[in-house]
Symmetry: C2
């Protein structure tokens, strides 16, 4: 069986659901489904949902021996229209309670201009202006190959 | 400035790009862009890209003090049409080199039937049949609230 090339949910462990709701709410996001003390879901692309799942339940759901309550090795990216908007949104995220890890600057890869901001869970958002990135009307993504 | 409710890229640190290519290739996936020794991108939803980024460069890109090379606190989900397909795809992923963390079974949350399989990077895929989940033609997701 092949696997359709589709991602349907990204689920992140959270140790503070209320801080998560406050942060994304301050940025203007509306939950798709919000379950007290358990999980909050946001639709973030056609057919795609981002969930923040109480860390204890996240661990129970996996039922694996490893500690999966700490976020690492993942970034989420959000593209904007210009370097000025990278500055502006980074400021808005800081005002909403985010921690700026990397101030707006030219990136090392891909010819982009970006910043990195942590949400209350420690998950890292890259806020980027990528002049070579484009989404067609049908949802097809194209962008230039990263050049160092 | 509000933040549009959109996720454009999910980027995961990988310590073995070739193992990543082999695993997803065995499942039938085609890269959107593949850069030797650096990153491989797959389009996984309209307007949305999943990237596997060489762990050393991932760390350089973040330029943060924390070690972000280890994956944790995140799962990616892929939904299929039936419990039988959960079994079938879990078997295909194991055959492709994935490690089955949780054999196909009823989940603790949300009324689903699922399995958990790690890819060569340790990232955890949930393969799920969720009878209450639906995507409209315009990409809008709906699903039942999780009930314990």
């Amino acid at each position: 069986m092949t696997m359709k090339q589709n991602l349907h949910f990204v689920t992140l462990a959270t140790i503070d659901l209320d801080a998560t709701r406050a942060f994304y709410g301050a940025l203007g996001w509306t939950p798709l489904i919000d379950v007290e003390d358990e999980i909050v879901f946001y639709q973030v692309a056609p057919g795609m949902v981002l969930g923040f799942f109480d860390a204890e339940k996240f661990g129970q759901d996996l039922a694996a021996s490893t500690d999966h309550s700490r976020l690492g090795g993942v970034t989420l990216s959000h593209n904007v229209e210009s370097p000025a908007e990278v500055h502006e949104l980074t400021g808005s995220m800081a005002a909403a309670g985010g921690a700026v890890l990397k101030q707006p600057q030219a990136g090392q890869f891909g010819g982009i201009f970006h910043a990195h901001v942590q949400d209350p869970n420690g998950v890292i958002w890259e806020i980027a202006h990528n002049p070579g990135w484009h989404v067609d009307a049908d949802g097809t993504v194209s962008f230039s190959e990263p050049t160092d």
